[in-house]
Amino acid sequence: MKCEWVEEHLSAYHDRVLDPATTDQVEHHLLGCGNCRAWLADYERLDNVLATMPREQPRPELRARIFASPEFHEILHARAAVPPPVKPLVPAVPHPVHRAPSSIHVTRALVGVAILMIALASASFVLRSLAAQPAVCPNPAAGDHLLTRAADGSLLLDGQRLTCAPHAVPTAPFALSPNGQWVAFVNQAGDVVAMHANGRAALTIRPHTASAQFTHIAALSWSPGSDQLMTLTSSGADASAFQVEISSLASTGSRILDSFTTDALLAAPRWSPDGVFLAYALTTANGATIRAVRVNQNGSLPVQFPIIGTLGDLAWLPGTADTLTYATESPATGTSITIAQMSSRVVVEPIYQSPAALTVTMTDYNALTGAWALTLSDGTIASVATPTGIVNPLAQLDASTQLFWSPDGTTLAALSQGSLWLISSNGAHPVATNVTGDPVWNPSGTALAVVSAGTVRVIQVTGGMVALPITVGSSAHIAWSADGQHLAVLGQDHTFIATAAGVLSATNDPGVGAPLWMVEP
């Protein structure tokens, strides 16, 4: 992908208004391109410069000039002569109007607006401006709560504006802790904030950076235990100096775990299942390299080993403390899947090699079962088990088929030329056509939501589909609550909360970015 293409989309990416597919493309490019990261860092810096410009006051005499002017007196005379043109849209309701003796009131239009607002609110729509009423720190009940960003960038919990914490307006990226109780983001001051579901910040970290001038928080990631937060920062004039920092909810401040310089970060840090290691991939003078560092051992040197070819994806094997699996591709050998165990030395073992003359075009890895799903260039869909490398052919679609494992690893959703297939031990079955955007699995893997023909549909693995009365255009942000009971959909004009059976509520602020479901224990 060319930098020019990314540059065209960088401003919209910065504002989080790109569709999910384009967002993914831009993010993928940013991981490997220091120039574009520097460009993005510039946008963040300059937006901040503009936003924090001191405001000047107009001259005090301007007020008198306006209200003593002949034009203003003409306006008053005209108002007295002209009957009010505003017709309330609903029958008028008694509405107390307190008039200050010296004020000239703009009552007609504004009372009309107030009545309209009341009418809309009673129609169970939560108007955006109502969400702007003076907010308090919420005290959410136990259960799932929806966190969204209003179009103005501020955070809303269940539609209520969070104004109680001093963390101001967040910017990307957002990271939800595995237990759903914490969300981490970068605020406009460049601090990393960890916020609880009650809207209170528990952690505010100013990341260490090599250069104060250009700083970009490239990634945030919670440990599997939801108690530590990894911050990956890039800085320097070309944004090529990276630092991996760890912060703990149990203490203040952060510590630098690793620092490195690279032209291209190939994979952002991923936690091992037990939270002992972080692994990532980067290019060095000697080529592509995987690097893993122990989180809780101060001063321990990172483990580092080279990889051959281009990295496709990097993940940890389930149930192990120190074993990685990764897919690579090279012109000489095609696509390989490898496992690497890091003990006193690194033991690398290739477990899968693509058939001669074929390459792997798409992959998806399931962290629960450790199974890779692959699309081959002849359209074969197959799974590869780790660590055994046993190959299981699943279906025959086409080479561009995208794959999405259910969280429990029992069903594979395959998106092939706009048609969605479900592949399981029962075979492969088409379940929807005209699909735009990625399918989103519920946490238990029993159903998925997808945008099909501009409408959100919930498809059950066991059969059956419900088309929700939600029209969203070509794409939408969709998120399931942790208990799988609720679905949040951010469409073009509204935010919807639905169940698999129908829509519960709609808010006329579509918000920006992806919604998150937080959990109050």
Partner: protein, 199 residues
């Protein structure tokens, strides 16, 4: 950035909601609430403080004249900025400066920009003003509305009377232009810094 100038949040919505929900707002209160942001917006559009005072006066008088005739769907904040934008554009046209192309402040040619450390000489605020002045006015308006007034894309579209898809393009072009001019001024040159060669 959450609160400034008497309750104006980053995107301006809190103020807008208060105005629309409150039935006792007077012309004076609208003026008091919006005078500072509207004045600053106009000031950055036209680049002249004296003229910004005059145009702020024009903006409020036009608004007060039209307000009683507006219907219930009025979004006061976006509507005020629309009047301010049009008022400023009219003034720029009267100056015989081409609005749709970059323009220079002829009265304040940046003679001091060649000094070794321009930031020390003129400060960040002046750098911002000069960089803004070198941008096309339409892009300038979009960038100001987004970053300083906290408008959403939809509100910018409403204010500038363009499609929402156009806002995306305006802001992209605006950020590119502002970045180039600001960096050039930071570096002490009056020409935009050339883009590095990219893959």
């Amino acid at each position: 950035m959450e609160q400034r100038d008497g309750g104006h949040d980053r995107r301006g919505n809190r103020r807008m909601a208060m105005v629309e929900l409150e039935s006792t707002w007077s012309f004076e209160r609208i003026y008091d609430e919006f005078k500072t942001p509207i004045f600053n917006y106009i000031y950055h559009l036209v680049g002249d403080r004296e003229q910004a005072d005059d145009l702020t006066q024009d903006t409020f008088l036009k608004a007060f004249k039209a307000l009683p005739k507006m219907d219930a769907s009025l979004k006061l904040s976006a509507w005020l900025y629309r009047i301010a934008t049009n008022t400023a554009y009219d003034a720029l046209r009267r100056r015989k400066l081409i609005v749709w192309l970059p323009w220079q402040d002829l009265d304040h040619e940046p003679a001091d920009l060649e000094s070794p450390d321009p930031q020390e000489t003129i400060g960040t605020t002046e750098l911002v003003r000069q960089a803004l002045r070198r941008m096309p006015a339409t892009y300038r308006a979009a960038l100001l509305l987004y970053t300083q007034e906290g408008f959403s894309y939809a509100e910018i579209a409403q204010t500038l009377n363009i499609a929402e898809s156009g806002v995306k393009m305006y802001l992209s072009r605006a950020r590119q232009a502002f970045r180039e001019h600001y960096r050039a001024l930071e570096a002490g040159t009056s020409q935009p810094v050339k883009k590095p060669s990219r893959s």
